[in-house]
Point group: C2
Amino acid sequence: MIKRGVAVATLVGALLGAGVVLAGPSAVGERAFDAVDPFIGTGGEGHTYPGATVPFGMVQLSPDTRIQPRENGYDWAAGYRYEDETIVGFSHTHFSGTGHSDLGDFLVMPFTGDPGIERGDPDVPRSGYTSRYDHDTEHAEPGYYAVTLDDYRVRAELTTSARTGVHRYAFPAGEEARVLLDLRTSMYDYPGKILWSRLRQRADGTVTGFRETRGWAPGRQLYFAMRFSRPIQGHAFHNTETDILYRGFTTPAHDTPTRRAQIEGRQLVGTFDFGVLDAPLIVTVAISPVSEAGAIANLDAEVADFDFDRVRTAAKQEWIEALSVLDIDAPESDRRSAYTALYHTLLGPTLFMDADGRYRGPDNAVHQAEGFNHYSTFSLWDTYRALHPLLTLVQPEARNADFINSLVAHQRHSPYGILPVWSFHGLETWTMIGYHAVPVIADAWLKGLRGFDADAALDAMIASATYPEYDGLEQYMELGWVPIDEEVEAASKTLEYAYGDWTLARMAEGMGRTEVARDFDRRAAFWRNAFDPRTGFMRAKNRDGSFREPFDPTASGYGTDYTEGNAWQYSWYVPHDIAGLVDAHGGADALLAKLDEVFEADVDESIFDHMEDIVGLIGWYAHGNEPSHHVAYLYAHAGQPWRTQSRLKTIMDTQYADRPDGLAGNDDLGQMSAWYLFTALGFYPVAPGSGEYVIGRPFLPRASLHLPNGETFTIVAEGLDQGHGYIASATLNGQPLNRTFLRHDEIVAGGELRFVMQAEPNRAWPGEGAEAPYSLSTQ
Amino acid sequence: MIKRGVAVATLVGALLGAGVVLAGPSAVGERAFDAVDPFIGTGGEGHTYPGATVPFGMVQLSPDTRIQPRENGYDWAAGYRYEDETIVGFSHTHFSGTGHSDLGDFLVMPFTGDPGIERGDPDVPRSGYTSRYDHDTEHAEPGYYAVTLDDYRVRAELTTSARTGVHRYAFPAGEEARVLLDLRTSMYDYPGKILWSRLRQRADGTVTGFRETRGWAPGRQLYFAMRFSRPIQGHAFHNTETDILYRGFTTPAHDTPTRRAQIEGRQLVGTFDFGVLDAPLIVTVAISPVSEAGAIANLDAEVADFDFDRVRTAAKQEWIEALSVLDIDAPESDRRSAYTALYHTLLGPTLFMDADGRYRGPDNAVHQAEGFNHYSTFSLWDTYRALHPLLTLVQPEARNADFINSLVAHQRHSPYGILPVWSFHGLETWTMIGYHAVPVIADAWLKGLRGFDADAALDAMIASATYPEYDGLEQYMELGWVPIDEEVEAASKTLEYAYGDWTLARMAEGMGRTEVARDFDRRAAFWRNAFDPRTGFMRAKNRDGSFREPFDPTASGYGTDYTEGNAWQYSWYVPHDIAGLVDAHGGADALLAKLDEVFEADVDESIFDHMEDIVGLIGWYAHGNEPSHHVAYLYAHAGQPWRTQSRLKTIMDTQYADRPDGLAGNDDLGQMSAWYLFTALGFYPVAPGSGEYVIGRPFLPRASLHLPNGETFTIVAEGLDQGHGYIASATLNGQPLNRTFLRHDEIVAGGELRFVMQAEPNRAWPGEGAEAPYSLSTQ
C-alpha cells in the first residue's frame, strides 16, 4: 500500500534523465545522495518531513498535508503525513522528528480558479484551497521536492538555499495563475496562537511581512520576503478574524479585503494574481529572525534571481558533500536506511541568523554573531546522547564549534543566565528536563574540539547547573536530590542532573579548574539518592529523605517520579557510573537479571496510551523514546556483550525499516537516526563525556568514516549476514581488540576496525579480565 | 468646588520655599513658568493631563485616575480627570487633549501592605491597589507633579527628562516599601488589547520589558528600562490571563507568580519589595521605541543616577526657556490662561527616538535618524490649522525642521508611501481625513523654513495626494469629487483634499515646479463640486454628479456627508478661497446672513449626543471641534471685521477659562490652545499656506513675541478692557494698518502692532476698498 519505492525509483530516473552535470562530486557522495529517501519517517510516528532543505538550513520548505488543532496535532508535528491524500500548501519551517511541535510558517499555495481563502476540510474535495495529490507524482531527494496538485493541475517543485525557499509552479496552459499566502496556519494550531502579523506589498513587487506567535516558544517573531518571477497583476489582503473587540481605524472588516499596500492583524491571508503565464512561476521566499529588511537582504544575498535549477543544483552539491563522509558497502535496503539516517542527522540544529550575522536570542532581542554562525533548534534532552557525538565525527570542526558558540551565546543573552534547555528560533521553551547542553559542550571539548571560549563555556555550564529557580535545582543542591513533594518528576531530574554534573566535572578537570571538578564530582554521585535498594529501582524521595509511597514501577507521566518513562525505563539512567549501578544492585548477575526483565516483560502497551512518546516497545524497553537508548548496551558493561549483540539485532529488525513508517518513534532532530547509524557501525556513545564508545555489533559489511581531520576509519564485518550477527573476534588496525569499547582518539586516528562475525553468541570475546567500558564508580 | 487655585498657590510657595537656584533664567520665562496651570483642561472635555514632561518630550509621566474600558473611555483619554478621587498609578505615556485615545504605558504604583495585584473598584476604597488622594496635596508645574496617596501615606513626586520618567516615593516610616508595575492597563482598555508583553529582572537590578498593543495604532511596541535607588529584595511576576488555550511550557498558571528572572504573556504584573527604607525611593523609567537595550541606553544617557532634584531643575529650565518666547502683560487670569495655552502647544509632536537616533517607523521597522530628531504624534487634521503655524513662530527653526523631516521620513518608510494622516509612536492610525501633513509642510516652506529636502518633501506630498487606495482619492482624481455612493463622508473629503491641493500648488509654484502647481491648482477648485447653490451648503455628490438625497443640513456623523460635523459646520471649509465662496453665495451679504445663522441658530444640543467631539456650541458654531475654528474670522473677509471681533469675544468668554474645566473641547495636541493664543494676540492663520493672518482683535493689553530669528514683535492694545473690545484703529510700526490681515514677513521682521480699542463696533476700520485677506478666487 505504500508506493514510496516506486516514487524513489521514478525520482532517481528523473534525476539521471535530467542530465544534471555535477561539478567534481565524489562518487561516494553521489551514491549516498541517491540512497537517501526523505519519505522514511514521514509515516508512523517518525515525524520527519519530506520537503527541501540544505544541511542545517534555516528554511525547511515542505508540504503540509493537514493543519491540525493542537489537541490532535501530534501526528502532524512535521506538517506532512504520508498517509494523507491532500496538501494544504508549502510552508517554510519544519521540525524534523519532534514530539511537541510548532512552525509551519508562511504557507504558500498555488492555485487556479476561485477556491476561496479558507483551506477547507481535507476530507471534502474542493471545500477550500487544499488540493488532492497522488504519491505517484511525488519526488523527494535531499534539497528537492516535487508534487502535482491534482485539483489545480499545478506541478509544484521546491528547493532551498540556507535561508530561502524557491518554488516553481507550472500552471495548466491558459489558466490564470494565482498564489495564496496564508499567515494563519501552523503546526499545533489553536485560536489565539497568532499574536500579530503583517503583510505588505512593496512598490518593487516584493511582498514582506512577519508573524509573531505564542506556540511552543513564547512571542516568537519570524519575518519573510517573497518575490515572484512575474509581476503581480493584482492582490487582495484579507483579515478573517471575526471576534475583534476593537478595530481602531486600521483593521478592515471581516468581509472587506483591502487593496492597500499593507494589512496587519491576527488572521491574515493574501492572494496574488498573475494572469495567464507562458512559463512556470518562480516564487522565492527568504526568512529572517530579525526584520523584513533582514529577509530582503537574505533574499538578495542568496537568490537574487529566479534560477530554480541553479539553487537546486547547489543544494544537491551541499548534500553530496555532507553525505560523502560515510562510505557504505551494504545491501541496498541497508544503504537506504543508513544514508537516510545520516541525512536526518544533518537537519538540525538549524541555522538561525541573517546573512549579516544578526539573530534573535532568548531575550527576544537582536544580536550580532561575532566570529561564528548562530544555530538554534536544540532538542538537547534527545540529542546530547548520540546526535551531537555523531556530528563531532561527521561534520567539520567549525560547524561543531558554531553549535557550541551558539549554546554559549544563548546563555549570555538568556534572561535566566542559563544554557538552552530546549530552544528553537532562539527562544527557550523549557521542554523536557536537565541541562543537557552541559554534556554536549563537555563531550565536544573533551574530544578536542576548540574554536570556542572554554572558560566562558564552563562558566555558562556552571550557571546552568546552579540556577536555583530551575526545576528543583535549588533543592537538589541543598539536599542531594530533587524532592518529589516539591517538584514533579523528581527521580528523573535527580538522575539527569547527576550525569550532567559528571560531564561538567570532567571538563573542569581537563581545564585544571579542580575546585569546580571536585564540587561537581560530589554532585555526580547524587544518583545514589534516587536508588532504592529494596526494590532495585530509581525512585523519587521526599524532602525528608523517604521515598514517596505508594510506588508503582509501571506508572509513567506527569505527576509520577519520572519524565516520559517509568521505573523500568529510568532505573538505568546512570550513564557515567554503570559500575556503581552494578554494585548498587549487588553485582552483575542481579543487574543482568533485571535487564532481561526489561526486555522480556509482557507489557500491555495500553499502559502508555496517555504518553504519546513512549512507543517502540520491546518489553519495557521503549526504543521510540530516548531514556532507553543506552540500555541494550549495558549488557556489555556487565560482562555479557553477546547479549547486547542479540538485543541490538531485535531492535534494529523491529524499530527501523526503509519505508515511510520505518521509524519506531519521533526522530527527535536526528537522535533516533544517530542511534541507528552508530549501532549500524558497531558502537555507541553510552556516556558522552567519557571519550568512549561501547561496542555493540556491526550491521554493515563495510563502512568508512571520512573524518573531518582527513583520516578515514573503516569498519569491516567479515561474514556478516542475517544469520551471522555475533562477534567472533575483533581487531583494531590488525591487533586483537579484546575489550568492548573504542576510544574516541582511536577513531580519529583513522584505521580499521575489523570484526569477524559468527552465527552463535561468542561468550569468549572479549575474554576474562577484559577492560570494562568507562565507569566513574562514584562512592 | 475646584481647589486648583489653592493648589497653585501652594505649589508656587513650595517652589520658592525650596530655594531652587536657577542658572541665568530670563525673568520673563520664570514669570511665565509660574503662570502655567497644568490642571487647566484636566476637567470637562479638555483631555489634558497634569503630569510631568519636558517640551515635546517622549515621556509624559502622569497620574491615571481611572482605567476605563474603551466604550466608556472618552472622558479618560488622558488618564486623569480632575473630578476623580482616586489614583490607579503613574504611567509614562499620555496624549494631551485627544478625543480618541491610547497609551498609558507602564503604570507604576508605590504601596505598602498587601492590597493585591488588581486595581480594584475606584468607588470602593481599598478594593485593590488604587489609592484615594486629595487635591489639597496635589502640586503641578511644568515638568513636575506631586501628590500624596492617602491609602498608603506615600508622598509621590514625578519629574522627567526627554525619555525618562523619575519617581520619588517617600514611604511612611517603618513600613515596608513596595512598588507595583502593571503592564495590563492603558487608556481605552479592552480585552485582547495587549498582544504580548514581557517583564525581566536583570542581574544588575535593572528591570526591563516591553509591550505590544493593538489599540489605536496597530501592533505598537514600546520598551522600557527601570531602575530603583535601593536594591530589590524580592520580586514576583504574575500572569493573570485566565483564558490561555495553550500555555506551552513557558506560561505559569494564573495563580503561580514566578520568581524566575523573566515572564512573558498578555496580562503581566510585577511587584518589587524593598523593605523598610530610611530615605525616599527613587525610580527611574526610560522608554524606547526600539528595544530593551535602547531603553537601557536612554536611561544611561539621561538619568544614570538617582538625582531627582537635578532632573526636576533641568526640566524647569527647559520650560522656562520655551515659555520665555512670549512676554505678556495682562491680568493674572489672562496670563494664566495664555501661558497655560502656550504650555499646551509645546507638548506635541513628541520625540520618538532613542538617544542613538533609532526609532520605529510606520512599517514598524527600526530606522536611524540621520541629521534630525524624529518626532511622532501628529494630530494633523487638528494641528495644521493653528498649532503648526504657532510653532513656526515660537520654536527654533531646527525643531520645526525636525517636525518636517519626521513627516517626510514617515512617508519614506510608509508601506503606503504617504505622509502620516494621524500618527503616533511612529504608526499610522488612519484617523480623521485629508492629507494635512501637506499644508503643514507647505506653510512652513512658504514661510521660509528650510533644513529639510524640499524636493523630497514635495514628492512625498504629491504621493500622499495621489494614493488611489486612500479614502476615495482615486475617484476624487477621476471625477473632481469623492462620490458618496462609494465613500463615506464624501463632502468633507472633497473639501479638505481641495484645500490641501492648493497648499501643495503654492509650494510647487514657489519651487518652480510649475507643472505640479498647475495640476494641483486645478484640483484646488474641486471644492466647487461640493457646493450646492440651491441650498447654499456644501454637500456630497454621487458618482453620477447628483447630490445625495434626502439632504438634512443638521445631520452629522458616520454615514452622512461630513466628518465630525454637519452642513452648517462644514460649509465654510474653503480656507483658500473665501472670495470664491462669497461669489458662490451670490455676494457678501448672502454669506454674512448665513454666517449669522450659524452663530445665532437655536440648536437643541442633543442633536450631537452621538458625536463626542462636537461640543462648545454657539448656535451651530462648535468651538470644541476644529472645522469651526476659522469661521468667526470670515466676517472679516466679507467686509465686516467688527462682527469677527464680536464673535471672538463671545467665544473667548464662553469657551475658555483658567480652571480645570476651562477648555470647551479636546485640546487636540494644542490646537485649541493655539487658537486661543493666536486669537488673544489678535490674529489667526485662516489659510495656512497663504502667509497671512487674519486680524480678529487683541485680548491682551500687551504681548511680545520673541521670535526664533532674534526679533521681537509686540502687540499693544490701548484702552483694552471688558468694555472696550472693538478695534478703533491699528498701526504697524507707527503706520496706519488699514487691512484686516498681517503678513508673516511683517511679524518676523519684528516691530509693533498697536491697536486702539473702543467700546462700540467701528464700521470704518479698515475702511472702504481695504485689501481683503488672501483668497484664491478659483474659477
